[in-house]
Amino acid sequence: MSDYDVIVIGGGPAGLAAATSARGEGKRSVLVIERDQKLGGILNQCIHNGFGLITFNEELTGPEYAARYEKLARDAGVEFLLDTMVLDVSPDHMVTCVSEARGMQRISAGAVVLAMGCRERPRGALNIPGFRPAGVYTAGTAQRLVNIEGLMPGREVVILGSGDIGLIMARRMTLEGAHVACVAELMPYSGGLKRNIVQCLDDFGIPLLLSHTVTRVEGKRRVEAVWIAQVDEKGRPVAGTEKRYPCDTLLLSVGLLPENELSRAAGVELSRVTRGPVVNESLETSVPGIFACGNVLHVHDLVDYVSQEATAAGAAAGAWADACAQHQAHDEEPGIPVVAEGGVRYTVPQSIDPERMPEKLTVRFRVGGVYEDKRICVYLGDERVIAKRRPILVPGEMEDVTLKREDLLARPGLEKIVVTLEEA
């Protein structure tokens, strides 16, 4: 007998939606363990609007969206341990955590949902030459300083990387009285949503320098300037294009990495592309009864998709815990592999068992470059079952296709499912 039917690690948007769904109208006991003092995760510092259009048909701010899901989880009777850090998850679902209030605890679960989110790629991952002066922050750290702590990181700002947080912070710093000189992006396209380029950069006349990077950070105690150069098609700085931007602050918005230390220690197989767990149609990892959802699984562009995915993961974890409590054997047959081809970088899930999948299953993915006028195609064996026309596909935006269970069941012996891009 486990202490809880389902334990969810992380109380951000993924964890709250997974827990609410796992609760199954009060049928199961569910515990969320969160390291912060409050629920909602990173949404608490995302004070801009644009969240929840799909889920609530409203444009909410991050804290409002988080509050809605916190209420749903509390009303559903989910239990919470706040200010509590999970140190270890064992393959047999024993969760070890520590807090100032209760010390070290070991809590067992029928099933576990990983919902730890992601973190920002730091300066150390970029190899920018120069000293280590004060004034270099990840965009998310600056966001926390401004929106939660009420502190301004600097006055004259350069932003490297055009991820959404960087774009959002360009506007935020401008509204707070700073001058943002430019956003430099290594790639020939932006990593963020188009709407954020319009409303965060264009609205304020902030230039977006595509195919540019920071080659040098000047200053010993504090950033004094950064040098920005154009790059060639291989990302190498082009000699003679360097320009000096005097500034006191450099913000980095250069990618997000799923935070999978606990998953790795639990023996969960990780994908080299997503850096998150490899999962099947139930969002179950390679370790039976351990599920994953949200940004720990793969980095999302929209929280609405996180909530949808987490709801599915929570329900699957709940069903797994039920079967476990009734000593039913789990069907651990490997599913049919889902193969990403032709510009599709990866898919989540990576395998599908037609017997276990729901009537309709959403397969999410991202593309590796900018593609115009293509069709997203799905092949079951040699047969094309989906051809969805898309005028433009960009790496910054997540795509999806919906597979029907009947289509898979109608093809016994199916060896692979291919998701690919073709000319329209």
Binding site: I47, G50, E64, A67, E149, L193, V198, Q199, E397
Partner: protein
């Protein structure tokens, strides 16, 4: 006749919307939008662009928060965005604050209230 191409900012889909204007400035067509929000955005954007402003104000007396996040309860003219932020320079909220509480009524004479988006 003039055609202006916009990126809709009303949802993350970011539709490319084309607005055709007659010589007298009246809108003759809006195309490329996937929903009515996009139609309204495009019409607003070429005649009187508007934005929702989100920012923070300090809060006193809260056990957990130093700042409370706020937004304009509706659209304000794009050209008034900085006026809205400036009008909040010396505004401080007092706990307890609940989501939806009016922090400042009729900000900068826009007729729009500033409301809290976080409990504190």
């Amino acid at each position: 006749m003039e055609t202006r191409t916009l990126t809709c900012i009303r949802c993350p889909r970011g539709c490319t919307v084309a607005v055709t204007l007659a010589d007298d400035g009246t809108i003759t067509s809006v195309t490329g939008n996937s929903c009515m929000r996009g139609d309204k955005y495009a019409r607003d954007e070429v005649t009187h662009p508007v934005r929702v402003v989100t920012t923070t104000v300090p809060v006193v007396g809260s056990a957990t928060e130093k700042m409370v996040s706020v937004k304009t309860a509706g659209d304000v003219p794009k050209g008034r965005v900085f006026d809205v932020v400036r009008a909040l320079t010396d505004v401080t909220a007092t706990a307890p604050v609940h989501i939806g509480d009016v922090i400042l009524a009729d900000v900068a004479g826009t007729g729009i209230d500033i409301v809290a988006t976080k409990d504190a």
